[in-house]
């Protein structure tokens, strides 16, 4: 099984070609150009470095959100166009899970990915390893058992998230681009139990999207491209205002 993985949910644009035991090629940029300019040339580059074409792929994994609305749509539209043209399915990978996988072995701690959602909020969810022995170890040939998500994906204030986690009284590893904004707050709230992942793991790369994507593909979770849409976790501001006025969205 060979897949292309695409990540464009934040500032980073990344593309990777991967199979079960290894990443064949990966390309990541964070240079301030729009994903619209960088993503498809990068996909072309990883395919040609891996000496492949789109027709050699079994599926396309796309980071499905939450994240930047426009960034997600560029990734989704690109994946949909490739999938429709090549007649292959899409795997819509939860962005927060891909970030959590990037932490590596969590040693029994909870993993809490946090993505900057602006407006003083983060997109977040909690993950736990299924099996403490190498489930996300990244060792070649090991079974990367998927992480289990505890509770829902949410957009919420950092203070609320920290209060909830403090009440759980568990050790937690934080990862994601919002660490750059909230590191001090997390350290202060954790009382030694909150750990920060290295910054190198905080910007999501397509290789991590591929890892989750291959798990999903093998467990039959690939879907038709037309059934894929990004997961925003938020309504548009026009819709929010309409609800606040007590009107229906129609």
């Amino acid at each position: 099984m060979i897949i292309l993985a695409v990540e464009s949910s934040g500032n980073v644009a990344s593309a990777a070609i991967a199979e079960r035991s290894k990443i064949l090629a990966e390309y990541t940029v964070n240079i301030g150009k729009t994903h619209s300019q960088t993503l498809l040339p990068m996909i072309d580059r990883v395919l040609s470095d891996a000496e492949m074409s789109v027709n050699d792929l079994d599926a396309i994994a796309v980071s499905r959100g939450p994240g930047s609305f426009t960034g997600l749509r560029i990734g989704s539209a690109t994946a949909k166009g490739l999938a429709a043209s090549a007649g292959i399915p899409i795997i819509d990978v939860p962005t927060l899970e891909a970030l959590a996988v990037g932490v590596g072995n969590a040693g029994g701690r909870l993993i809490c990915p946090i993505i900057d959602a602006r407006r003083n909020e983060v997109y977040s969810a909690l993950f736990e390893e299924n099996d403490r022995f190498g489930s996300v170890s990244g060792v070649q040939g090991s079974t990367h058992g998927p992480l289990t998500r505890i509770g829902q994906e949410r957009a919420l204030g950092m203070e609320q998230l920290l209060a909830e986690l403090t009440a759980m009284d568990r050790e937690v590893i934080f990862v994601g681009d919002a660490l750059r904004v909230h590191a001090e707050k997390i350290k202060a709230a954790g009382n030694g139990k909150f750990i920060l992942a290295p910054l190198s793991a905080c910007d999501l790369r397509a290789g991590c999207v591929a890892t989750v994507g291959l798990n999903m593909l093998e467990s039959g979770k690939a879907i038709d491209g037309s059934d894929h849409t990004p997961v925003y976790l938020r309504l548009s501001s026009a819709e929010r205002e309409r609800l606040e006025q007590g009107k229906e969205l129609g």
Partner: protein, 370 residues
């Protein structure tokens, strides 16, 4: 090499609130023209909401494209190229079409062509008028554009007149809102005016721009309409907004209830007189430009070109002046992908191709190249 010599282009358009795809044969024949309109959603908000439009595009792009291929009875192997609107338009909306079309073309091994949305509107005239060829003069009128363009050749345009403030369609939307008709303004004003409105009831001003006889201005006209409405309302005991809110409370607000007690002017008169002022300026400028440049062929393009009053008046005046007039059927006046495939055909023949880094250009001006 393709076995037949026909050049088939798959075109995608998502610049505003319509998700559209078409297959166009040899630049003149639309084998399919699929449009998913989001108008019902945006009507609830009184205008296009960019984020909602973008979200709808990503939901609809796959089914719209596959429907276009199915209706045309072609598969990707039959195609010569993929074309997509690159601008101008709403950036979030444009990006969905651009990213999708580029990826589709790349995976199919086909060239990609970014198309200018307004060049597409102009090219819509070629689909139903096979004999039409440049040079001709084109009046482009839509919610975002009011332009007089000399189409010198395929892909060669000279802008000779443009609006200094509102686009004609924008003026329709604003006046429609003020007289309680709602969105979209163009068709609603047209319908209201037809319902017994007298186009000579009120003498609204004709906008003129000093220094260029072919330029347009609609903000003065819009203000004149608002001032007129307010003066009527004051005579009835309050500003227009208050009257409307009062009436919304008891029954569904009936705009016709707003009558000038002294002159007996009704809202349908306002709609008809306003529309007449817009149409008068558009037609007069177009005819004068055609005469002064010695061009015997005039075309219209864009959503407002579907307006009944504009079509009728332009037809009369062109006939009187011996000018041959072309305009697309109403469906091809609104945003669609067939017009994009048509415009792309001539770029394709000229050898134009874009790279995988083709981007959306929301503020693309007419005559500017992608």
């Amino acid at each position: 090499m393709k076995e037949n010599e026909d050049i088939l282009i798959l075109a995608v358009e998502s610049s505003c609130d319509e998700t559209a795809a078409a297959v166009v044969k040899n630049g003149r024949e639309a084998l399919s023209n699929v449009i998913y309109s989001q108008i019902d959603i945006h009507t609830m908000y009184g205008g296009v909401v960019p984020e909602i439009a973008s979200r709808k595009h990503i939901e609809k792009i796959d089914p719209v494209v596959s429907e276009a291929l199915r209706k045309a009875g072609v598969s990707k192997e039959d195609l010569a190229a993929v074309a997509v609107t690159a601008g101008p338009g709403l950036v979030g909306s444009l990006l969905v079409g651009v990213a999708y079309a580029k990826a589709y073309a790349y995976a199919a091994g086909l060239p990609i062509l970014g198309v200018h949305h307004i060049e597409g509107h102009i090219a819509a005239n070629y689909i139903e008028n096979r004999e039409l060829e440049p040079p001709f003069l084109c009046l482009v009128v839509s919610g975002g554009h009011t332009e007089l363009v000399v189409v010198e050749d395929y892909g060669r345009f000279r802008l000779i007149g443009t609006t200094h403030d509102d686009a004609a369609g924008e003026a329709f939307d604003k006046v429609a809102r003020a007289i309680g008709l709602g969105y979209p303004g163009g068709p609603k004003v047209d319908k209201c005016a037809k319902a017994g409105g007298r186009k000579d009831a009120i003498a609204f001003p004709r906008g003129h721009v000093d220094g260029n006889d072919f330029d347009f201005s609609f903000s003065g006209l819009k203000s004149a309409v608002l001032n007129y409405l307010n003066s009527c309302a004051m005579k009835q005991g309050g500003p227009v907004k208050d009257l409307r809110e009062k009436r919304e409370g008891d029954v569904n607000f009936n705009p016709d209830a707003l009558i000038d007690p002294e002159t007996g002017v009704t809202v349908s008169d306002v709609a008809a007189s306003f529309q007449e002022a817009v149409v008068d300026v558009l037609v007069t400028h177009t005819i004068e430009a055609a005469k002064s440049l010695g061009i015997g062929k005039v075309a219209m393009a864009g959503g407002v070109a579907a307006n009944g009053a504009l079509r009728e008046r332009m037809k009369n005046d062109c006939e009187r002046e011996g000018i041959k007039l072309y305009y697309p059927s109403p469906l091809l006046c609104t945003d669609n992908a067939a017009m994009i495939g048509c415009a792309a055909y001539y770029d394709y023949l000229a050898g134009k191709r874009h790279g995988l880094d083709l981007n959306a250009v929301p503020g693309l001006g007419l005559g500017q190249k992608i």
